[in-house]
């Protein structure tokens, strides 16, 4: 990999959904571009329906872009690649972690088996897969008891640790997390955020952190992309964007985060004001 090359580079991404006869298409993502440095961390924020998950789904290939390009380490991610080798290579490029891991984990497999399975899929020998599975479990803070447990026997936080370990098992260069800590208790949330920071440091994986929780995004990302109705309205260093937002929409989003001086009526006012200018 070229040293200056972005781990992930996205340009002109667009996706529209047909809404039925006589109704114009819903443009869920419109001309979104960004770059992510190796080991970097990008937040994608915006209110519900702004297109965050659609971006995440296009990154991992669960949704096909109408246009635009996604490059991982300089290599364009094709949409029509077929065959096992191509599929596995794509998996090694980008992995996704969802909000609700129960839906994405195989209920029949124990934590250790689940990791073993993914590792074998990616070509590890049996013994190597066993060794690596243990290593991954330890890396995400799951012990021997959890290693032998099936997903429904794990707590929400433990399940999310397993989902992260499983994503890492593929050896991805980019990890996409879509509301991955949103359903967790604050203390578990803090544990997972800390885990992600450590994994980023240790493995150099780049993170795309999708969330509507600005405070959490502020804690784990260096850069942030603010989405409104499918478009990126602001993009810059997280600290700057969240503390001195330039775009009125970002200002409205920041004002809606509960904290000292929070006034819900003020949020409503800013939102109405913004909606009025956005219509015009």
């Amino acid at each position: 990999m070229n040293r200056n090359e972005a781990a992930l580079s996205v340009s002109g991404l667009r996706r529209a959904f047909p809404m039925g006869r006589g109704v114009p298409d819903l443009v869920a993502v419109d001309d979104v571009s960004f770059e992510l440095a190796p080991g970097g961390s990008l937040g994608v924020v915006g209110e519900s329906g702004s297109g965050k998950s659609t971006v995440a789904r296009m990154l991992v290939g669960l949704e096909r872009p109408d246009s635009g390009e996604i490059r991982v380490a300089g290599r364009t991610r094709g949409v029509r690649e077929r065959g096992r080798a191509a599929r596995l290579r794509r998996a090694r490029e980008i992995q996704l972690v969802f909000q609700n891991p129960l839906e994405s984990l195989d209920r029949r497999l124990t934590a250790a088996q689940c990791l073993h399975h993914v590792l074998r899929l990616h070509g590890a020998e049996r013994a190597e897969a066993d060794r690596r599975a243990l290593e991954l479990l330890e890396q995400v803070g799951l012990g021997a008891r959890e290693a032998e447990a099936r997903p429904h026997r794990l707590s929400g936080g433990q399940r999310q640790r397993l989902a992260i370990a499983r994503a890492l098992a593929a050896g991805p260069s980019v990890l996409v997390l879509d509301e991955a800590v949103s359903a967790l208790d604050v203390s578990v949330q803090a544990q997972i955020l800390r885990l992600l920071a450590r994994i980023r440091e240790e493995s150099g994986v780049s993170l795309v952190f999708v969330s509507h929780d600005l405070a959490v995004v502020g804690q784990v990302t260096d850069e942030v992309l603010v989405m409104y109705r499918g478009r990126a309205v602001e993009h810059g260093p997280t600290r700057r964007v969240l503390r001195e937002p330039e775009h009125p929409y970002t200002r409205m989003l920041a004002s809606s985060v509960p904290g000292p001086g929070w006034d819900p009526a003020e949020v409503v006012r800013l939102r109405a004001e913004f909606a009025a200018t956005a219509q015009a």
């Binding site: 604050v186 803090a190 509960p258």
Partner: protein, 341 residues
């Protein structure tokens, strides 16, 4: 006093159960007041709300008192209980879709509630429902009236549920994580509506949330719960300025907030299940400030000017500070005593 809970202790049946789910819980809500109840999941917040309506699992044993507007909930007759549940107290939960029937129009959901709970004549119910929808900030109510739940966003549905909850003009609203599933903007919109309605109606609100920042910003007073106990009760503004219980400080450190440069610091370990009993302070195994005496200290609430705190060290510090402030003889001894611990 609108809601008055005193030393409420609830034990659930079951061989695995080693401690009460609620342990001497005390809290109050005045008319027109919003009182927050925060804590990690499993701390007993929802059980407290359900206890107010005597909606406890079969076989639960209950001690203590809970009264709503003078009605003793635990001693209420079936008729009084029905009156409480259907009219005087309303409850709103996190997931509106669990309350709404997916194959029925939202307008019918509202009119049905009016007809059943208030006996509103059918002809009037529609107009009343439309008024309610306007009141909770749903635009184009005529159109919304005919929509099905899947045609509305989570924020709109929560407004519909709120409209239904307010239809009976309740004295008390129990909001259990009512805005937790919404994004911050939508949450602010729903809470802005709720604030106006509460003020105009003088309704009291028990506001359950796991978000301490939200509780501090939205409520008048906040109770922090841990393992079935209220460990700190404070004026909302004091909660962040001067948290007194190590658990409250721990919760704040987990999410330092948008304006902070601090990294999130988790509380070590996890909250105890009902199969764990304690001889001393329930937080001791996770408390970074615990001293030996904490493992045998019998939790009790020490009064503060704006509430109370149930922590051995907080209590001692407070006693020392008071003694020093009062220039009491012996303050030095007390302080030395404290420092050598």
């Amino acid at each position: 006093m609108l809601l008055d809970i005193e030393n409420l202790t609830v034990a659930l049946p079951g061989a695995e159960t080693r401690r009460p789910v609620l342990d001497e819980v005390a809290l109050t809500v005045e008319p027109g007041e919003v009182v927050g109840l925060v804590g990690e999941s499993g701390s007993g917040k929802s059980t407290t709300a359900r206890a107010v309506l005597r909606l406890l699992p079969e076989g639960a044993s209950v001690r203590g008192r809970a009264s709503v507007g003078g009605t003793d909930v635990l001693a209420a007759s079936p008729a009084e209980l029905t009156e409480l549940r259907s009219r005087r107290v309303s409850m709103v939960f996190q997931d509106p879709r669990s309350v709404l029937n997916p194959v029925r129009r939202v307008g019918d959901f509202l009119t049905e509630r009016l007809i059943l709970a208030l006996g509103t004549p059918k002809a009037e119910a529609r107009a009343k429902a439309l008024d309610l929808m306007t009141e909770v900030g749903l635009n184009r109510p005529e159109e919304r009236f005919r929509q099905y739940p899947h045609e509305m966003s989570g924020g709109m549905l929560q407004r519909v549920v709120l409209a239904a909850a307010l239809a009976t003009e309740p004295e008390l609203l129990l909001a259990d994580e009512a805005t937790s599933a919404l994004d911050a903007t939508t949450q602010a919109e729903v809470l802005s509506v709720l604030r106006d309605l509460r003020e105009s109606r003088g309704m009291g609100v028990l506001f359950i949330t796991h978000d301490l920042h939200l509780a501090a910003a939205y409520c008048h007073r906040v109770h922090v719960m841990y393992a079935g106990r209220v460990v700190e009760s404070r004026e909302a503004s004091a909660l962040f300025a001067d948290p007194r219980h190590p658990y409250t400080r721990g919760l704040i450190a987990c999410n330092p907030g948008l304006d902070s440069d601090l990294a999130p610091e988790p509380i070590p370990g996890s909250p105890p299940s009902l199969s764990t009993a304690f001889d001393g302070c329930p937080f001791a195994p996770r408390c970074p400030e615990a001293i030996d005496a904490c493992t045998t200290w019998r939790p009790r609430t020490h009064a503060l000017p704006d509430g109370g705190v149930a922590c051995l060290r907080a209590e001692r510090e407070d006693v020392v500070t008071e003694a020093v402030d009062a220039g009491t003889e012996g303050a030095d001894t007390l302080r030395r005593d404290e420092e050598t611990r």
